[in-house]
């Protein structure tokens, strides 16, 4: 078995989940300056919706997947309209605490409505092994990585080629100027929260079949998503993707070639190193403030 090839394939698979999470975090942060600690719990809520659709209505996983993404978009938009917008005059710290509170509330809601026991979520496709150059991997792994890539490309296309994407970038640059230019900032922010919620749910839906679904399922992946976002640069969407893949592969490399015990803390050491050596991340731009 070619260990390095195996590490790269496995790392890329988990890396695409980290990248999706990081994308949602960065998208919100660069537009609203909010670090959303409820990002993982929004994803878990979407996954519980998909799970309920599969088990209660018998809908196929792919259909449930799409419906859950739709539901997540609605949930994300509602969170902005009914929670974040009324608190928009709060400080950044106040808004951060708001998302922490939302995370706890969503966790409690999941346990209350869907139960706190572990649940098995089926994968998007059936498990089948593929052997490449001495390494073996499951079709599930490939599909997980591919779906992640498709979503990332879709987000890039939306941000680059659509009026909504242009408006999102404008609001991220200068909200007041965007408003003065007639951009409907409120609607753009609703769309931003909805998009971030879709990314969170997609990541959770892809992650759930590799573990077990429960209200706290996304605690660890969310922390890795934050790490990936910082590594890539908190204001760079391509950076979030690069950060996710780099973290996914490096975690495994460290575990295999250095120490298994060190693997858990490696991600956070990486954050410290990046913050010291390149505070704006691998692809982020240093913020310049006029004084």
């Amino acid at each position: 078995m070619d260990i390095l090839l195996q590490v790269i394939i496995s790392g890329a698979s988990i890396g695409s989940i980290y990248a999706l999470i990081a994308l949602g975090i960065v998208l919100l942060y660069r537009t609203t300056r909010i670090l959303n600690f409820a990002h993982g719990d929004i994803g878990v809520l979407g996954t519980f919706i998909a799970y309920t659709l599969i088990t209660s209505t018998g809908l196929p996983f792919r259909v449930s997947f799409m419906l859950a993404l739709l539901a997540a978009a609605v949930i994300g938009g509602c969170i902005y309209l009914f929670l974040v917008r009324p608190a928009k005059n709060q400080s950044e710290l106040g808004l951060l605490i708001l998302t922490l509170g939302l995370a706890l509330a969503l966790g409690g809601l999941d346990a209350l409505v869907f139960g706190s026991g572990n649940k098995v979520v089926p994968a998007l496709v059936d498990h089948r092994l593929v052997h490449v150059g001495g390494a073996s991997f499951s079709v599930v792994t490939v599909v997980t990585a591919l779906v992640g890539v498709v979503l990332m490309v879709g987000l890039w296309a939306m941000m680059t080629f659509t009026r909504l994407g242009l408006a999102m970038r404008a609001v991220a640059e200068r909200e007041d100027v965007a408003q003065a230019l007639g951009i409907p900032v409120r609607n753009v922010l609703i769309a931003t929260w909805a998009t971030a919620a879709v990314l969170a749910t997609a990541a959770a839906l892809l992650f759930a079949p590799t573990a077990l679904l429960h209200p706290a399922m996304m605690l660890d992946p969310l922390s890795k998503g934050f790490v990936a976002a910082v590594i890539g640069g908190m204001n760079s969407l391509p950076g979030a993707v690069v950060g996710g893949y780099v973290l996914g592969v490096l975690e495994l490399v460290v575990g295999i070639y250095i120490s298994l015990e060190f693997k858990a803390s490696f991600a956070f050491l990486a954050v410290i190193l990046v913050l010291v050596l390149r505070p704006h991340g691998l692809l982020g731009k240093a913020e310049v403030k006029r004084v």
Binding site: M1, I3, Q6, V7, S10, G11, I14, G107, G108, A111, S116, G117, N118, K119, V120, H127, L129, S136, F137, S138, V140, T141, F207, P209, T210, A211, L212, H214, P215, A216, M217, L219, D220, P221, K224, G248, E251, L252, G255, I256, L260, E261, K263, A264
Partner: protein, 413 residues
């Protein structure tokens, strides 16, 4: 006007002094009566009820184990509906600690000081129990059936803690013995959580392998692969275990980590014999495709709802149908934890009943120590005659396409 007010105040003052004297006399008399009665009273016990404390994670990452508390409540309701114990009802005082040891300590403190519990039953979590243990021992409160298999509870009991959960060391050693003697395993690896729970599993594996080697066996303890609690990416661990060539892998982890590892095993097309600790006996994990053929231990008698019609223990079937189904139907889908809640509490109930109407903690502890070769309850054989670790046996169950099926007799250490 002013005079009237002053006079009035003066009259009131005299009246107040008289009434204060009466109140004082009544208080003094009341205090003597109360002190007199307290000399014979026991905290947590009244003429009509006995208050039993318990904690568990009703929220947080281990919330599924909150079903243990729900089951105890159902058990007490069932007992109370039959007249209680010696004329008293059992009252469960439980607190959600969210699996956070710091919250366990404050919850236990509050249950002792404010709720005045008589004894503690069950209590989920190794770290949680270890955090609460010094306080419970210092207060001299009996604690029966910690819902964890850590060795410390019996070893450091100080006469107050009575463990019924076959400890992880013994469990691991018995699994290893079965693997070598019955399955012909030669290279036994272990995947373990990096804490006392997982390390007990490693110690049991190593001790039993050494014992087997001393008797001429060529089997050896293979790779010991760890993970940090709460982490979810098990790619490296799977690669290490697959690369080690282990024919048997023991699991001492949490269900999510085990599921993640099994998914990675599937990616590598690595199919060792899995032997799993009882703490992973979770309905979701049993139904996981990677667990087909895997073996679990159980230290409890199990009902047909787990083992299939005709395979269950009749006594476990009876408790499941008489208590869980009618009193706690919401946890009926999780029969292991449900019956676990009853099993952890049962020895305390037996001892309270045997202690009679003049109930004291000392009398209950005395009765607990008299439990010897007790085979009528949920355990194969419970004995506190010369130990605080009352149960040292497990049975092995295998996951088959039809569900879990027993594959061994009761194994004793």
């Amino acid at each position: 006007m002013v005079y009237k007010k002053l006079a009035g105040r003066g009259c009131n003052t005299v009246r107040k002094e008289e009434s204060m004297k009466r109140v004082f006399k009544a208080l003094v008399a009341g205090t003597f009566v109360t002190l007199g009665s307290l000399a014979f009273a026991q905290q947590g016990v009244t003429d009509t009820e006995i208050r039993i404390g318990n904690w568990g994670p009703m929220s947080g990452p281990a919330a599924a184990w909150g079903n243990v508390t729900t089951a105890i409540d159902a058990y007490f309701q069932w007992i109370n509906d039959q007249g209680g114990i010696n004329g008293r009802n059992l009252v469960l005082v439980s607190r959600d600690d969210g699996y956070d040891p710091a919250r366990t300590v404050s919850a236990v403190r509050e249950m002792i000081d404010r709720e005045g519990v008589f004894a503690f039953a069950a209590g989920v979590g190794t770290a949680n129990g270890l955090a609460a243990m010094p306080l419970i021992i210092r207060e001299g409160i009996p604690w029966v059936g910690p819902a964890t298999g850590a060795v410390e509870f019996a070893e450091q009991s100080d006469g107050y803690i009575f463990a019924t959960f076959t400890n992880y060391f013994v469990e691991s050693a018995l699994m290893t013995r079965y693997a070598i003697e019955e399955l012909g395993s030669s290279n036994i690896a272990i995947f373990y959580q990096n804490d006392g729970y997982g390390l007990s599993g490693v110690a049991g594996l190593e001790a039993e392998v050494s014992a087997q080697q001393a008797e001429g066996s060529s089997a050896f303890a293979g790779d010991r692969v760890t993970y940090e609690r709460g982490t979810t990416n098990m790619g490296v661990q799977a690669l290490r275990l697959a690369g080690s060539g282990a024919d048997t892998v023991m699991l001492f982890s949490d269900p999510s980590a085990a599921a993640a590892l099994l998914n990675e095993f599937a990616n590598l097309d690595y199919r060792p014999q899995i032997l799993s600790t009882v703490t992973l006996l979770d309905p979701s994990l049993i139904s996981h495709p990677g667990m087909q053929g895997a073996m679990f231990t159980s230290f409890l008698r199990l009902p047909s709802v787990i083992l299939g019609e005709g395979n269950g223990d009749p006594y476990a079937d009876q408790l499941y149908s008489e208590i869980i189904i009618p009193y706690a139907p919401e946890i009926a889908a999780d029969p292991f934890r449900a019956l676990g809640g009853i099993a952890f509490t049962q020895p305390l109930v037996v001892a309270i009943e045997a202690a009679g109407r003049d109930l004291t903690r000392e009398a209950v502890i005395e009765q607990l120590k008299l439990i010897d070769n007790y085979t009528e309850g949920m355990y194969h054989n419970l004995s506190f005659a010369d130990t605080y670790q009352g149960n040292n046996s497990v049975q092995l169950l295998q996951v088959t396409p039809q569900g879990l099926r027993p594959v061994s007799d009761w194994l004793e250490y």
